[in-house]
Structures are given as structure tokens and as C-alpha cells.
Amino acid sequence: MKKFILPVALALSVLATPAFAADKVRIATEGAYAPWNFLDDDGKLAGFEIDLGNALCAEAKLDCEFKANEWDSIIPNLIAGNYDIIMAGMSVTAERKQKIAFSDEYFPVTKSMMAAESGKTFDLDNLKGAKIGVQGATVQADWLNANLADGNTIKSFEKPDQSVADLMAGNIDLLLAGDGYLDEIVASSKGKLEFVGPGYDIGGGVAIGMRQADKELAGKFNAAIATLKANGTVDSLIKKYFKKGPYYTSITLDGLKAEIEALTARVKKLESK
């Protein structure tokens, strides 16, 4: 009998020493929203927000770790305390502000874009009878439901990659998503996808989501964000992951270089035509 009791007792002792106080700042991210956050080939979280989060924690002298959490439960799980902050390409909205607090933004407001299969034309001003895809619980989803739900079918997806897969398969006509997410997907689709229309101004900038009670933590992160914005770290990370900006410091060397690169590429393209 002793032989049986011992392993059980050992197993129970695992439970007897639970971690209650947060010694580490746990950062939740989606891990499926490239280039903001994704799983790299090694199976580890990578992307703009992972690099930025680590830089912010180094600046604020905090010990941080990232963990992946599904998008649709990312706010409830923050409130429940499964982790301490959210960095997941989350735009600041008035609705979200009722439940959680936001830090200062670390990514400027960008446009949301409609993507479709190349060659299809849409009358975006009087859109009727179109199937429009969007990721659920996003600012884009709210906007679609408020503005284009009448006469069109809105299909909401749990994960962003599913929405792109359905667009590629022709199950939906249009996909509305953030510029930063769609840019590289459209660029690397080998001409299969293209942007339709000029885009929409939806939602605010992107910021860290926090529990409303964590005022001290918010202060630390806001200070770190201000420092990294001023010294160009945020801009250089935006450059690394989004290539074309937008940037915080109006003129940066990296930003100029990127502009020149883009312009030279465009000139070459026009010349070859």
C-alpha cells in the first residue's frame, strides 16, 4: 500500500504549492495575427508585439513572459486574471474601455482594408448582395455590422487565417481586416488577391490592454512606451515588421530609407512596363 500512496502524495504536493502572487508580468497574445504576433518555425511566439513587449519590459525592468490565448476569450481571461496584460494588435475602442483599461498606444491608427480576389469589381459605395468576411470581436466586425449589414451577408471568423482561407477559396467575396495584417498577405499572394477601395478609418491606435485596477503597472508601461517612441525603438520595430510604417517620429533615418527603397522599387516597376 505504501508503494501506491507515495506517488499519489507526490502528485498532490504539486497542487499544494500553487503560485498565487504574480512575480512575472504575463503578456497574452493571439499568436495567429502576423506580423503582429505569430508562431515562427521553431514553434515560438514571434512578431512585432513580441519584440516590442520584450523591449518595453527591459525598459521598465520587469520580468515578462508571453503566452498565447484565443482572440475571442482574450479580454475575459484578462479580467479573470489568467494573465496581466494583452498585446495582440488590439485597437482602443470606447466599448472595450468599459471593461478594461488601455495604455498609451504603441501603434498609430491605420486604415482597415477590403481585400478581394483579383479582377473582381465592387461598387463599394452601394454594396449589395456581397459576402463579407471579418474576424469576430474586432473593430472591423463592429463596423461592418453597423454599416454594411443591410443587404449583405457578413461572415465572422474565429481566427484570421480562416478568413483568408475562405477568401482564397471563394467562399466570401470580400475580406475586411487591418492594413498591417493584410498588406503582406496580399503582396505575397502572387497576384491572387488585391485591395479594393481606399480603405476605412476604423478604431483607434493599438495599445496594451490591462485590468482597470492595475494603475501602477499601467504607469510603468506608459513611461516605457514614451521612452521607446522617443528614441526610435518603436519605429525601427514597425519598420522591421510592417515595412511601410506609419511611424511616430515624423522623419527617421530608417523611415527615409524605407521610403527611398519603396520609391526606387516603384520606379523600376514602371520602367520595366
Binding site: A19, A22, P35, D41
Partner: protein, 280 residues
């Protein structure tokens, strides 16, 4: 990974083939293969719990004291009817909130305790569960569910041991205790093993629910790897490959059950050696 493979081996494959090998052996995939450990650990640990709960349940069911008998019967009939997926979802949550409730009582202020809508009432009472904690709780839940089945199997097997065997043993002068442990319990296993092997098979299938508790097991990774990727910097660009990845799981579980069948046949042969009474 490609660089550690010998040249002659790689020369068998075309460039596409080599790319595929590189893809299937990248860190993501190696993590997937390694996550088999969660499935195996969960299966073995839950089986141990199930046997433990099964023995306790069977002992209660045949106890002379009515209350114990009642508890045993209650356990086997109630728990057996509840889907295991509900148990996996409910039990860890119940334990977690139960623990947090008691911590909150001592650590949170009265004002925080009376507030409605937030759980736990204050952050000091927050219990952070690691993957291993969840794994352990999932095993405990599975053990509870399948322990109820095991209790019935063991209870039946105890009654299946021929009376003549036990009477003969007493006639040879073995004490009551010896008769119980060396004859009844020893022979019980022979009758219980076929039933227990069935329960083991069910249990292996139930390990696929682990990902519900945020355990990054093979099912979790298969879903993740099968998801479409359109972003070149996040690895190979491919459409939705869920079908292919789930098919691999399919094959994995079939192989696992085949191996288990062989193992149980071996055990059965071992347990029934020298027992002419048992019909094979």
C-alpha cells in the same frame, strides 16, 4: 535539421522533397511530435487514478456497512452517466474556484468579497494554474470518470472468482487474510482484465480532450499546424491543411490502440497462467 542528415540520404529526394523534410522537421513540428508525451502521461496517470478509484469504489460497493455501499453505488451509477468531456471541463474549474474561494476568504477585504461580477474578488486570491496543474487535474477527472467503470468491472470480477477456489484455499489452512489477498484478489485480475482493457481504450480516446484545458497536446498542435498560413515570415505558406494533420492523429490513435491490445493480451496470458478454470 537538414544539415545533420547524410548527403546520400538527401540525394534520394527532389528539391521539393527536401523542402518538405525541412518543413516536417522544423521546430514547430518537433514540438508537435514531443507533445505526444502529454497524451501518454495523461493516459497512464489517469489509468492509475482509475484503478485506484475503481478499487475503492468496488470495496465500497461490497462493504457490509450500508452507508459505504450506498456511496459506492452512488459513485458508479452517477459518474458513469456524465459525459467525460463535461467532467474535464467542470472538475478543474470547480477545484480552482474552490481553492480561490477559501484563499479569498482570508486574503480579500470584506468590500471586495461583497462585490459582484469579478472572480476572484481580489488578485491575491488568484491561483495561476500551469500546464502541469491542468494536466494533473485532467488526469484526476478522467480517473474519476473511468474509475466508476473500473469499480463495476472489479466488483463483477470479485464475484466471478469461483467459490470452490476460496473454499479449497481455506481447507488447505490459509488464513482469511491470505485467502482474500492471495486467492480472491489474485484471481480477480484475470476476470477484470478484459473489462479493464476496454476502459483503457476509452481512456486513450478521452485523452484527446486535453487541449480543452490549455494543455498543448498533439490535438492542439495539429490544429495549429494545419491552420492556413499566408505570411511568408511565419513559415511555409500553405492553405488549410487540417485534414492532413488530423489524419495523422487518426493513424496515431489506431496504432496506439493496436499496441495496447497486444499489451493486454500479454498481461492476460501472464495473469491466467496456471489457471485451468479460466476459459480462454
Amino acid at each position: 535539421m537538414l544539415d545533420i542528415l547524410p548527403e546520400w540520404f538527401l540525394s534520394w529526394f527532389s528539391e521539393d522533397g527536401q523542402e518538405m523534410i525541412a518543413y516536417l522537421t522544423n521546430g514547430k513540428h518537433l514540438t508537435w511530435y514531443a507533445s505526444v508525451r502529454y497524451t501518454l502521461i495523461a493516459a497512464v496517470l489517469s489509468a492509475l487514478f482509475a484503478i485506484g478509484f475503481g478499487l475503492i469504489g468496488a470495496a465500497l460497493k461490497q462493504s457490509g456497512f450500508f452507508l459505504f455501499r450506498w456511496i459506492g453505488n452512488f459513485y458508479t451509477s452517477i459518474v458513469r452517466g456524465i459525459p467525460d468531456i463535461l467532467f474535464i471541463l467542470f472538475f478543474p474549474l470547480a477545484i480552482e474556484q474552490g481553492v480561490e474561494y477559501f484563499i479569498a476568504k482570508s486574503k480579500c477585504t470584506a468590500e471586495q468579497l461583497s462585490a459582484i461580477g469579478t472572480w476572484p474578488p481580489c488578485q491575491e486570491a488568484q491561483w495561476f494554474l500551469t500546464t502541469n496543474d491542468y494536466l494533473f487535474m485532467a488526469c484526476l477527472s478522467l480517473g474519476l470518470v473511468y474509475g466508476a467503470f473500473a469499480a463495476n468491472v472489479i466488483y463483477g470480477a470479485l464475484h466471478a472468482v469461483p467459490k470452490g477456489q476460496l473454499e479449497a484455499a481455506s481447507a488447505y489452512g490459509f488464513s482469511q487474510k491470505q485467502v482474500f489477498w492471495k486467492f480472491k484478489i489474485r484471481q480477480m485480475w484475470v476476470y477484470a482484465l478484459p473489462g479493464l482493457s476496454n476502459i483503457w481504450m476509452l481512456l486513450i480516446k478521452a485523452t484527446s480532450f486535453l487541449s480543452l484545458l490549455q494543455v498543448t497536446d498533439i490535438v492542439y498542435w495539429a490544429g495549429l499546424l494545419g491552420a492556413a498560413n499566408y505570411f511568408p515570415r511565419a513559415g511555409m505558406v500553405h492553405p488549410n491543411w487540417n485534414f492532413q494533420y488530423y489524419f495523422v492523429l487518426f493513424v496515431f490513435y489506431i496504432i496506439l490502440t493496436m499496441l495496447s491490445e497486444r499489451f493486454f493480451n500479454m498481461l492476460q496470458n501472464k495473469a491466467s497462467r496456471g489457471m485451468s478454470v479460466v476459459e480462454q
